[in-house]
């Protein structure tokens, strides 16, 4: 024995998780939704996704190398994930230069300005998305119709989303039952045969991804289930109070970004609370704000704003909502 043996405090073994595994696990879970998107929107979806991922990774590398001056760590997969999520949140015919601006805002403002991975209070992809939505409202709301796989990038035919039609109709004084006639059925919405942001259309694909992440124990069930449940319950109450003014709850959870937001955006580890109790408060908050924006606000869709607003509350939730300590439940039977 002439080699130095290591000494270190316990524990001496580590589990199977790693940051990389988690990040790539989420990327894997997003693949069904990507496939659905390509299936419905064609080449545009592929171009948007690749540009978004490439520019996010590039910006992360450049910022780490030249501005923060650390060793770039793009291999941890977090930039890839941000890029993928950003792509999922924009229409599939978005001009490339707008995507690149979105990526710069996502990575530069949303993530790196706070200190990089783990430090950002807001979901970077959503920061980029909301920035684009406010800056380029026309391009960001020209939703291509789901014309199938063979649609080219530029020849997409655009039309409003289901939620957009609903909002517009209600503003013009139409009743929900009238509007519903030219809106995709619940089944179509479940498969994803409707217009919308690239990744949000197919609830089925997103739920597949959710099941995968639950199986791999990347996330817990709390946020997605509670969030969707809150949206369902709240819109349900509104619907039964006035069915001509407010749409059916199933319509609400299947259209727009609720599924994508609940499963992939709100569950972003960095920007969600640390313990189940906090997660429940967080998810309920997002659900309520989403429905408020959808039903009473100016925008047809509100989940991005809702998540960003609740992101801001996460530190305070973490501070005041504590897991129950061992020993709090006193003796059994007392």
């Amino acid at each position: 024995m002439n080699r130095l043996i290591n000494i270190s405090p316990s524990p001496h073994v580590a589990g199977e998780y790693s940051v990389k595994k988690i990040m790539y696990g989420v990327v894997l879970a997003l693949l069904p939704a990507l496939a659905a998107s390509v299936y419905f929107f064609g080449t545009g979806a592929i171009i948007v996704t690749l540009v978004s991922i490439a520019s996010c990774v590039a910006f992360e590398y450049l910022i780490q190398k030249f501005i923060i001056k650390t060793t770039p760590k793009i291999s941890d997969g977090s930039a890839i994930l941000t890029g993928l999520l950003l792509a999922f949140n924009v229409p599939s015919n978005l001009p490339i230069w707008i995507i690149i601006i979105g990526a710069l805002i996502s990575i530069g403002v949303g993530k790196m300005s706070f200190g990089g991975l783990g430090q950002n209070p807001f979901n970077p992809a959503l920061v980029g998305r909301v920035f684009l939505l406010i800056s380029f409202p026309v391009q960001m709301t020209s939703w291509p119709k789901p014309l199938g796989f063979l649609t080219g990038y530029t020849d997409a035919v655009t039309g409003p989303t289901a939620l957009g039609k609903l909002k517009e109709g209600i503003m013009n004084g139409e009743t929900v039952s009238n509007i519903m006639q030219d809106i995709p059925s619940h089944m179509e919405a479940f498969y994803g045969h409707m217009g919308g942001s690239m990744g949000e259309i197919s609830a089925l694909a997103l739920i597949l991804g959710f099941a995968f992440m639950l199986y791999r124990k990347i996330i817990t069930w709390h946020i997605p289930v509670i969030l969707v449940g809150t949206v369902f319950a709240f819109t349900g109450i509104l619907h039964f109070a006035n069915p001509e003014q407010f749409a059916h709850p199933v319509f609400h959870i299947l259209t727009g970004g609720v599924m994508l937001g609940a499963i992939f955006m709100a569950t972003d580890m960095v920007t969600s609370p640390m313990n189940p109790k906090g997660m429940i408060i967080f998810a309920v908050g997002i659900g309520v704000i989403t429905v408020l924006i959808r039903s009473f606000g100016a925008y047809p869709e509100g989940i991005s704003f809702a998540i960003l607003i609740m992101n801001a509350f996460v530190p305070i939730i973490n501070k005041y909502v504590k897991p129950s300590r061992f020993g709090e439940e006193v003796k059994n039977g007392q």
């Binding site: 043996i5 290591n6 316990s10 589990g15 998780y17 941890d76 020993g327 059994n332």
Partner: protein, 443 residues
């Protein structure tokens, strides 16, 4: 549904490599190094000096306070010196060093293998005899057993729980002892029950040891009030508070001892030691030690005299593997990496685990991604990430209000952390500092 504790917990790979290797007697060492501090509390005061001749079982150091324990010579020979020696704690501490000559036992020790079932001593005499024998908790915490046998005034024990969980991966010392000395152990349990005045005892065993569960259940049929409780495999079930929660579903309140909920927990190894002390008059001079690791040639379990150098046991298990990167005294989750192969086996050494070069290294630390996994696996319901941050920023008041002192240092948080952050290192720092602050405040 098997019983287990509710909150948190992890399931590290079990790797019980030595589960099928029977306990063998280790050779007598040539030089025995017997540290004076082998237990929690004040180190014992030496009773021998250089040149004294000692016999096996002779008391060589006396308990020096309320929380302290006697220490007996595990070998016969001449005392070479009393000197500061590096032991498994990582520090140099006083130890009695004995040159071994022959194997000459004290006459009053009954060395026969016969099982003596009759418990003739009274409760008080049992406590005295346990105290004299220098028995400490053999699970690893090494808390003097006689103190646990005398509940503080106003508290009464209702139930005795025997800890046969052995939730640490790799270790099999308790497992083998349950299989090979089951009857003695159950008699030991009856002795402990008599001393405590309780009439119910549970032996908690994790379900990955079905042979031990079956063996002990069969024996327990002949002993009234002793019952085996199979438990679901989950770390850290061997933690006192977790075990009580799992077996009798009571939660020990923060900052109190198990006696608060009427429970007393002893390790199965301690029960065997108690049997030997009370029935055979044999003090605690040997224990079962597992030598294991993926690179070890023959992972084995040895009955070892206290004070035997670790290297001797590793040699007996096939020698130190060439690619050794780390050696751990105890299990991989809570054990302590030893800095030298010469450190002696003490009362608290349940095993020596050898890691190869790749296993020995910690992975690179990455930034916290706030995944919350540490919070969800903490068996005490704490938030390790925030405790680490507070300790890093030296915010001791906040560390205290976040219940850092409740941490049982099981290491589940660090085990599970995807970013491989040194959570427990910093929490320990927080605990020691907060402990000092609390003590100075109480003065």
């Amino acid at each position: 549904m098997l019983k287990t504790f509710k909150k948190g917990g992890v399931h590290p790979a079990e790797n019980k490599l030595s589960a099928n290797s029977a306990i063998t007697m280790a050779e007598l060492p040539k030089i025995a190094t017997i540290p004076l501090g082998q237990h929690i509390g004040a180190p014992a005061t030496p009773l021998v000096k250089k040149g004294d001749v000692v016999k096996v079982g002779q008391i060589v150091a006396q308990s020096s306070g309320f929380v302290s324990a006697n220490i007996h010579s595990s070998v016969s020979g001449t005392v070479a010196k009393v000197e500061d020696t590096l032991d498994s704690t990582g520090f140099k501490r006083p130890a009695i060093i004995i040159n071994v000559e022959g194997d000459d036992w004290l006459e009053e020790i009954d060395q026969s293998k016969d099982i003596k079932k009759e418990i003739s001593l009274s409760a008080e005499d049992i406590k005295k005899s346990v105290q004299n024998a220098g028995i400490v908790g053999l699970g690893g915490a090494t808390f003097p057993t006689h103190i646990k046998l005398s509940p503080p005034p106003g508290k009464t024990a209702e139930v005795l729980i025997l800890n046969g969980v052995e939730c640490e991966p790799y270790l099999t010392a308790d497992h083998r002892l349950m299989l090979e000395k089951g009857e003695e152990m159950v008699i030991g349990t009856k002795i402990l029950m008599k001393a405590l005045g309780v009439n119910k005892a549970f032996i908690g065993i994790e379900n990955n040891k079905p042979d031990a569960i079956k063996h002990l259940s069969d024996i327990c049929k002949n002993y009234e009030g002793v019952e085996v409780t199979p438990l679901k495999v989950k770390y850290p079930q061997g933690g006192e508070k977790q075990l009580i929660k799992a077996v009798i579903n009571r939660e020990v309140p923060s900052g109190t001892l198990p006696i608060e909920v009427g429970a007393v927990v002893h390790n199965v190894g301690t029960a065997f030691a108690v049997y030997e002390a009370v029935q055979k008059n044999k003090p605690l001079i040997e224990r079962v030690v597992t030598i294991t690791g993926k690179s070890v040639k023959t992972p084995s379990n040895f009955m070892v005299r206290i004070g035997t150098p670790t290297i001797q046991l590793i040699e007996a298990a096939g020698g130190v593997p060439d690619d050794t990167g780390k050696m751990v005294s105890g299990g991989p989750m809570m054990g302590k990496a030893i800095s030298s192969v010469d450190v002696p086996i003490t009362k608290g050494s349940s095993g020596v685990l050898i890691f190869n070069n790749t296993e020995a290294r910690r992975r690179e630390v990455e930034p916290c991604i706030r995944c919350g996994k540490c919070v969800s696996v903490c068996p005490m319901g704490l938030e390790p990430y925030i405790l680490m941050t507070f300790a890093e920023k030296q915010m001791w008041e906040e560390t205290e209000t976040e219940s850092a002192m409740d941490c049982i240092e099981c290491g589940s948080c660090m085990f599970t952390c995807p970013a491989d952050r040194p959570l427990l290192d910093y929490i320990r720092l927080g605990k020691t500092t907060v402990g000092k602050i609390i003590r100075s405040r109480n003065q």
